[in-house]
Symmetry: C3
Subunit: 658 residues, 3 copies
């Protein structure tokens, strides 16, 4: 299979979504002039072009796209050609209303925006295949074609009748018999035993709580249906162009797709990333998404979309202050990106996203935003040969599984304050602030390459996952788990004792009496061998083996009971330590496991990552800082020599080669 | 009619909901072993078994239930056998979609959870009657059968077409003619005069406010329809087993049912009670529900459901700290319960409530929860003969009428801050903290047995109720009313003057100029003969007879106007005094009326209740306290002799016999 | 055309909505007795009488109305006769369900309340025309008939199928061709190009954001459809009574109607005004609505509805303290009202608004409310000849355009904190507190009569509007604009540069790099020639001509950049100064432009307005104040002579003639 390396050929790709159908053709020539000026290598074309390509059912209008592809090619710009299937033309819904999705209340999601298609609709899929087929056939040999971009941000749900039928087929395949389904779903509870496949529905509005296993399977089904849509189109374009890699752009930590399963079906993993410039933890959020995406890709990946300035979907949309676009672009490269792209090239004047920034904003080429884009393009062009294709290695892994998220996020759980992504963020932050480069892993992945594995939110663990973790510790790995670990099996069935017995044995836990979730803002005092700290969000009434107590609760109802247990290299945290405490705890355990930070003694807000032979130093603050970088290096952006120490200005970036 | 005494036969029942269909039969034997260990006398079986009993329409599968009933009987456990009609099997909705309820927007409430039946559906009712008939016939003579438990927590609404037709029939019966309905509903307002019965609908979504009398009648209709469902099943089982009492479990202060009317149709009144362990007023909330339930039962009652630990439907679900389950169980007995039961016996591993605690929790028999359950069972077994069947007497009554709640809770009222149950809680709390044992009564009940009657929220009063209150005071009773008393008649029609003229005369009020509701958090200063206090929630611009002024507003727009009026034994409070002030006011009025607290000089957080010949002393705090109990008593739980004083530890309970 | 003068004939009208169908006829006689006592000149009759007039389809029952009209006439009370078309009888929806509107999710808005009609329904319109025709024919010659009141508070939306067809017709008329529509709507974005008129829908529920131009046009369409309903009925009554003026009552600053376009279709402009007695800015809110209504009317106007006491639709509904009803009534007269009317005459005992106050409240004629009403009636009767028909002149205009509001209020904009009416309020407040009498104007109106024009929220400006503003400044006018000025054209299409180039030139702006909206509660420091101030809500990264800088940002990312630009008589504020700063800034600019306050040196909370030859002084506080009024005047309410100074008590009013 072709991969990202076939596209980059020693470069870091630079560009963005380009929607020329919004502009008169005379602007296209202005566009390519500015693309050359900005060092654009690649643009994504056609994401929302279905109505333009097929204005009436069965019509084909490729002329404008022919001219555009030629123009881009003649100007040295490659094309990530998109199948336009995320936004069917209005005629689709008008002539085939059954292609429109329905929400859980039965409301139709009408056309006029985007993603108004049912993933289960045979009619939609047939039309999507046809336009994909013709697009692929027409441009298979076009020299501008660089990459296939399938659909866009797959993310829809459907509770309608065709989806219900598809759900039944999917369940029949999963379970074989109704008995097996009834067992897996625990329909004996509340007497919801199914006597017919026809009685099974998507989780539509109900009087009260729904079946949690049905909800979980509906998530799995939805991810699989969308993946079927993706692979159907992928297979068509592959047939025409086996040498051209295929991707679809993920949303970061998006709940709707099983990201591990999806990544396996892609030649290139790409992601859209929009941190809030005002979020004080935006840099860590970016790092997390980048680490996750790189782990999904098992190597270099594409930043398919970011914003050159403000987005338009938050309550208040802040622009990027001078330098931030550049800093975050280099952060992506440092963490493995071989492509830095934007939505979108030229800011729209009309439509729902006209206030979303562009590489060329409303202010045009004289605007600060475009000036900064031009600088980034030039720097990436220079840096490309040094970095493209190289790897980021990590000795620490964070476990994450979408299925566990889906199962653990339902109503009727012990605490609605517990949020899967918030836990991932809290634990990743502790590692990031400790300057430990981390990967993400599925609990069933081979973990033998990591010295330290942390499990912030492993509520659902399959038997295979549990055996994998046991083997990992047995073979010398260090495992640190947060609370609610191995509570349920793959059917969301609570394991006897409220936590898998093998895991309890691993952590030295004898009895888990009760969960004691905490209110928002509440905390409990804990005391460990190195002093006290506060736990938040959760606590537990636990009996452990006496020698396994690593910290105890102090005061309150749990006074004297174990807060943290440790047995050998297996740790269990029955609360969420406050950020500083979690950082110290994990840094200490990491050190014990032989993991060293990328750089020692870094000032606050400075991030360091090694990629291949390069050391990236990124300064997320506004006041100049001096950073110790022992040895002699060449700073690649300035070409200067750096000896032992380096000063970074506001949002400064250094790329050092020793 | 048979009653609770036929079931208890000198015991306090102990047990819980038992759902064996969720477990393999080998677990059943484990269950009965543990039931014996815990002193379980009674379990509720079959609440959600419809799909198991009738897996296909018309099928009957009783074999498993036969075996279970035999097993329980052989182990000395009686059965409260439930009709399974609160959760129809999936085939019901699939084959008869018209049985599914619709909300006010027309959304269907689908199967897959529970209570997905329209109370008005003829098809549902026919199927419910058939399974009830067969269940009753089969187990009429079974020796384990102790009690019938009809359906579960009736609570649904339906705005669909069959409900609309039933609503019309109900209205035709209530009003006879359209003219009468138009008059009662005041349809002249906004020109909504009905010219045809066919034009009358449930209160579905409208552009703006709906007709308040229609809303009120829809509440009445809903309560009556659900009651018809109940009585239909009750009559069937009664026909088979005239000697076996019948109940259905209420939710505490649930808005949907007219609790007074329902209680009259039950042989035993039972309730489900789930205070929040974190609520500082949880003990008072429990007392209130227990007092109300006892008043509905006019004697001993059943605590049908409580939680051994945490529930799972709050945002954050706290477990019960050690001792709390026992304390609250004894509180129920003290206030008249002859049964202490739980939802549920064994905590589920699957389904929507798998995180709701059980008597046997996920931690199993070694868990703290089960250990505590076992202690409670043993203590109740010992105490049973001393207490079962005995009465709690009260000299104080709190007026409460569901119809008044329904009428007073609509949009378009003077203040959305005014909340019927919150007012009941505030006034009951003042009495509870004064150690006055209280009953609840409907405003039309015979009140002659009470020295003091309080009316916290008597917004709607019928003429009969008003005459009843006048007679009560005339005959020597003391009446204290909160604001918004007698504002409307039974059609929610405002009485001239904004308050019934007879009541104004009773309280010495001449003119009610304006209501001055207060914002949340706002208060007004009042000054009475014994000092100042703060009023909250409400105030009024009132003119009273000069000699009727018992307290005045100070400052603000109402400066100098009457805040509390008193004429003889009739008091009117035009504001809600802060808790301490209301407590002092009511305690003083009670003393004047000759009502004494159960015990004098009790420390904070200690509750005392007399039941029959026993004095229960309950300590709701965690630090030990000493309580004066003049005289010599035998403490029944320890068997020790108590002279004049008693020390109670954390969550301590004492049961004294003099 | 007849106008308000034909009705007032030297009086200030006084009265309210009168709904006699809610009362037995014996009460009518009581009503007219009290009306005479209160000085009522005019009542509005029939607003909700359709079901009474046409109880069955096609029936006509005018007898009761005949008797009522006669009774009123014989008691000297004129009638504003309403078409009853805002509340169709229940039979309309029952027999013609297609007349019921649907919300964007497809939910039906059922009958039983009011306004349950689709503005696009041919059946509704036909029935509305028929009843209007017959009503007009019957009462054309009745001597009580004074005024036509069409419908009531037009405000509905409809997303159903008949509305969809009407929307298509409206769009076809606006755009002629699909190409033109696709261009105006920018459907190239997200590939929503319409290939058929049949594919165009109202903006129903979608997966994500909708097309902003579609949303804007749907607002325009809705306003136009409702206006068609109005003009259809107006034309019918005009045909019968060309000499009787016609109005419909607006809701203040209601978003759903283009108030400028509507006012042109009325003989009399009338408004409903319900400030919250607890709102500390209620007086300014009243002034704003009154200024806007007077500007729409281009002269005297009617206060069609206010409350004598509390309303019933807020969370907590406060009554009017003694004196406030009178103060606000005179404020309306001061600002141009020739009619002071209420909803409603007699407070209802039933229905959804039974807690909305009346001129005769629940407390009846002895209630404080009615006593105050009687005083107001008498004073207005005395004052009428002095004031009726006279004009209020203003040298300052505030620009306001509903289309700009509609366009600027959609999702996907830079900041959801930016709120069109809040901006109007903030700027009007600055002028009101500076005692500058202001008018409102549309950006395309002739502005030559104003010395100062302010544009708080001119997000959308047509080319004509821009040329109008340029000409206004060119001809000597002073223009002060808030941020987001001229951002889009009439299709909500962003103008190149993010702000119209002509406007940038006018204000001396060279490049608008980025918008920097602020979070709620956030502020930025600015520094002008006269000191520092804080800006809120918004800031901008702007380059202006150096000499155009009137204030600069200090600190933060925008340090040193222009905050306020000024070029000649054109000012641009890129932030919203805090209230005091905005007041000082505008007062200074006004002074420079030659605009003087009505009175100098007024104490806080005292308002002064000149109307005709009279000077109204209104005291919105509760403590007595002394006001300097140079010269000798006659105070018309007391008849006393005032020399140079005047003392006003709580909520005091003085009307001075020099």
């Amino acid at each position: 299979m072709p991969g990202l390396g076939e596209v980059t050929r020693g470069r870091v790709l630079f560009g963005g979504d380009y929607n020329p159908e919004q502009w008169p053709e005379e602007i296209w020539h202005e566009d390519v002039r500015l693309m050359r000026e900005a060092g654009v290598t690649t643009v994504t074309v056609g994401v929302f072009s279905w109505a333009r390509l097929e204005p009436h059912p069965g019509a084909r209008e490729f002329g404008w796209l022919d001219r555009l592809m030629d123009l881009l090619h003649h100007n040295g710009v490659g094309v990530a050609l998109a199948t336009p299937t995320s936004a069917p033309p209005p005629w689709m819904g008008r002539l085939h209303p059954e292609t429109l999705p329905r929400d859980e209340d039965g409301h139709i999601e009408w056309w006029g925006g985007r993603q108004h298609f049912s993933h289960s609709s045979a009619v939609y899929r047939r039309h999507a295949a046809a336009i994909t087929e013709d697009l692929a056939a027409r441009y298979a040999a076009h020299p501008a074609l660089t990459l296939w971009h399938i659909n866009n941000e797959y993310c829809t749900f459907d509770h309608g009748d065709e989806a219900a039928a598809a759900f039944r087929r999917w369940l029949r395949e999963r379970y074989g018999t109704l008995d097996a389904l009834n067992t897996a779903w625990g329909t004996a509870f509340w007497g919801q035993v199914h006597d017919s496949w026809d009685g099974i529905l998507p989780p539509r509005r109900a009087h009260y709580l729904k079946n949690p296993a049905q909800l979980l399977d509906f998530r799995r089904f939805t991810s699989d249906m969308l993946l079927e849509c993706y692979t159907a189109e992928r297979d068509i374009v592959r047939r025409h162009t086996p040498h051209i890699p295929v991707t679809t752009n993920f949303m970061p930590l998006w709940t709707g797709q099983d990201g591990w399963a999806w990544a396996e079906q892609e030649d290139i993993v790409s992601v859209d990333l929009y941190p809030d410039p005002r979020d004080p933890l935006a840099a860590q959020h970016g790092a997390l998404v980048q680490d996750l995406t790189r782990s999904q890709a098992r190597g270099p990946w594409m930043l398919m979309e970011q914003a050159a300035g403000a987005v338009s979907w938050r309550g208040v949309n802040h622009p990027k202050p001078a330098g931030l676009n550049r800093l975050w672009s280099f952060q992506a490269v440092a963490r493995g990106a071989d492509a830095v792209c934007y939505f979108q090239w030229r800011q729209s004047r009309q439509g729902a996203e006209k206030f979303h920034s562009g590489m060329v904003g409303h202010a045009g080429e004289r605007g600060r935003t475009f000036q900064e884009v031009t600088r980034i393009g030039a720097e990436l062009a220079a840096l490309g040969p040094e970095v493209a294709g190289s790897e980021v290695t990590a000795e620490v892994a964070v476990l994450h599984d979408w299925h566990s998220w889906w199962a653990g996020t339902q109503d009727g759980r012990p605490s609605r304050e517990v949020d899967h992504p918030a836990l991932l963020h809290a634990w990743h932050r502790a590692l990031w602030e400790s300057r430990l480069t981390t990967a993400f892993a599925h609990p069933e992945h081979d973990l033998s390459g990591y010295r330290l594995v942390v499990a912030p939110a492993a509520y659902l663990l399959t038997d295979a996952a549990i055996e994998n973790l046991l083997a990992y510790v047995r073979d010398g790995g260090t495992l640190v788990s947060g609370f609610l670990c191995g509570v349920v099996d793959e059917d969301d069935r609570v394991r006897p004792g409220g936590m898998d017995a093998r895991l309890r044995a691993l952590f030295g836990i004898e009895t888990l009496h009760e969960w004691w979730p905490l209110e928002a803002g509440e905390s409990v005092v804990c005391e460990g061998p190195h002093g006290g700290f506060r736990g938040t969000l959760w606590s537990e009434e636990l009996r452990t083996r006496p020698e396994a107590v690593a910290a105890r609760y102090r005061g309150g109802e749990l006074d004297g009971l174990p807060a943290v247990s440790r047995q050998g290299r297996a740790w269990y945290l029955s609360t969420l330590p406050e950020p500083e405490a979690l950082r110290e705890l994990l840094a200490g355990i990491a050190a014990e496991a032989g993991v060293r930070p990328v750089l020692e003694g870094l000032p606050d807000g400075v991030e360091a990552v090694r990629r291949g032979k390069l050391l990236f130093v990124l300064h997320h603050g506004r006041e100049p800082v001096t950073v110790a970088v022992p040895g002699t290096h060449r700073e690649l952006l300035t070409g200067e020599t750096v000896r032992d120490s380096l000063t970074l200005g506001r949002y400064g970036v250094a790329v050092l080669r020793s």
